[in-house]
């Protein structure tokens, strides 16, 4: 079923209801989903699909992915975590990942913001400049 503007608006309102102090409240999200599924209305599946999309985007905004070529020492991890908490506020879900192809340095992605200080990014920039 094609999603209408009204369904999008409803999904957005439901998404707003799930936010508490700028953070997603998991229990409210569950409640909303259960309510929509139980209602059995024909508009529910597309509304739910859009709600899910907003949820994914919202979650991504509060998720930080830190990638490095080697595993980071604990003190550096703590420093990065506190730095991110300072900049983006509390409630940030932080995950660390290893990517040897980055060669060196660190790449941090929080939502749409990317801080790339890796050797690979530097080399790519150099390649583009030629």
């Amino acid at each position: 079923m094609k999603i209408t503007k009204r369904m999008k608006r409803n999904a957005k309102q439901l998404f707003r209801v799930c936010m508490v102090k700028g953070l997603l409240d998991e229990s409210r999200v569950r409640q909303v989903v259960q309510h929509l599924v139980a209602s059995g209305e024909r508009n529910s599946p597309p509304t739910l699909a859009h709600f899910l999309r907003l949820l994914k985007l919202g979650t991504a905004q509060h998720t930080a992915v830190i990638e490095s070529a080697i595993q980071l020492p604990a003190d550096l991890r703590a420093a990065v975590q506190s730095g991110l908490a300072q900049r983006y506020g509390p409630g940030l879900a932080i995950t660390f990942a290893q990517r040897p192809e980055l060669i060196g340095g660190m790449r941090i992605q929080v939502g749409c913001d990317v801080y790339d200080g890796t050797v690979r990014a530097g080399l790519e920039a150099l390649q583009r400049s030629f």
């Binding site: 985007l57 660190m106 941090i108 939502g111 990317v114 801080y115 200080g117």
Partner: protein, 510 residues
Amino acid sequence: MANLLKEIEAQIAGAKTAAVKQNVGVIREVGDGVAKIEGLTDAMLNEMIDLGNGVTGLALNLDETEVGVVILGDYTQLKEGDEAHTTGKLLQVPVGKGLLGRVVNILGEPVDGKGPIKSDKTYPVEKIAPGIIRRRSVSQPVQTGIMPIDAMIPIGRGQRELIIGDRATGKTTVCIDTIISQARLNKAAEMAGDKEYRPLYCIYVAIGQKQSTIARVIAVLEEAGAMPYTVIVASPASESAANQYLVPFAGAAMGEWFMDNGMDALIVYDDLTKQAVAYRQVSLLLKRPSGREAFPGDVFYLHSRLLERAARVGEKYGNGSLTAMPIIETQSGDVSAYIPTNVISITDGQIFLETDLFYQGVRPAINVGISVSRVGSAAQLKAMKQVAGKLKGELAQFRELAAFAQFGSDLDAKTQAQIDRGKRIMEIFKQAQYNPIPVEIQVVVLWAVQNGYMDQVPVARVKEFQNKLTEYFTTRKNQLLAKIGREKALNDELKAELKAAADEFKQTWH
């Protein structure tokens, strides 16, 4: 070698690396020259978006969760899931005199195979038009070299004069003639070392045209020696709709550089109908709401913001100007269609070309009755005003009387004389293409017809008389022509000299 190694080591030791913050998004949907990108929360309107693989896009729709981007390049290289990031830059094109004589694309890249363009300055493609304070009235003429235009629908520097007509009525030819005329005037002033003369540089923007048509225009301009004073910005029909919609703005940016640097430029948009169609395509692909004839609601703003960039700026701001000659193609002469009415209301006048006149042999096929120039008369040469001041009225009377004469009733001598004069004027307004006439010659010819020198010449031989008269003045009376050009007005002394010369010519005419 040891020194080099030390230098490199020192540079590495001193090098500071900093992570650059980027705003990224993921391509959710791509096709038909348009991409929807999720993320890119910091994207600005009209910002260039790096889509990877050397492809650039332009952010046109900023929605809550995604950004609608038109792709300026080969979108077949992109796929769903690719990463895109903002650049913090608006779409820019190179500007400057280095572009003269070149054929470039929407991004200002050369497409003529003559090597890179020498330009170190760029201008944003979208720019706010000069405001009220910066502007001044139009006061200097653009000599198109087309007699009916220079005599009755004069164009001033900084004016926006619309060229409107059906297909194949000579709209492009009028503009090409104007460009050739400017090149000849520029060249003549350069050779004479005239410091007073302000050269008029030309920019020809080809929108959605066939490549062969563009190649023909280039060939004509090259043959006429007009290319050194001209820039051609082309987005042919084979390019994407996004390119065709943006190319007039790129041309305007190149023209604005001349204006901002105290020079004069003329820009021809050939044609804005195709640009509107391309914009409609882009808007529909971006799922913007459509209005009349499926054009988006801001199609008026599309043309108004483009044409408002043509201006004459005050002396305090460099005294430059940008004259615009937009072209609009009508369907079966319908000027009341959506896009024609929009552009008519934006411009400072229009030159209307008619198919009927074209096939009657009146070329350029200008319908003088409905063509107007709202501000150009202030810029018209005084000499031209003196000889052509009453022409429009006389021609209107002629058309009315000629309609009556068709009924075959007997006419009094005065009416007959008016009809005869009208026929002769119509005849002298016929002009071969790519052959602009210098303004001094136009003044002489119009003076001759107004003073009855052609009254005895049969209508069929008027053109021959005009050609011989032109030849006579250019070969034997070139000093008189130069004087007219210098004085820019016909005083009693000049009139006497003109009369003597015309009498002398009349004696030799058989």
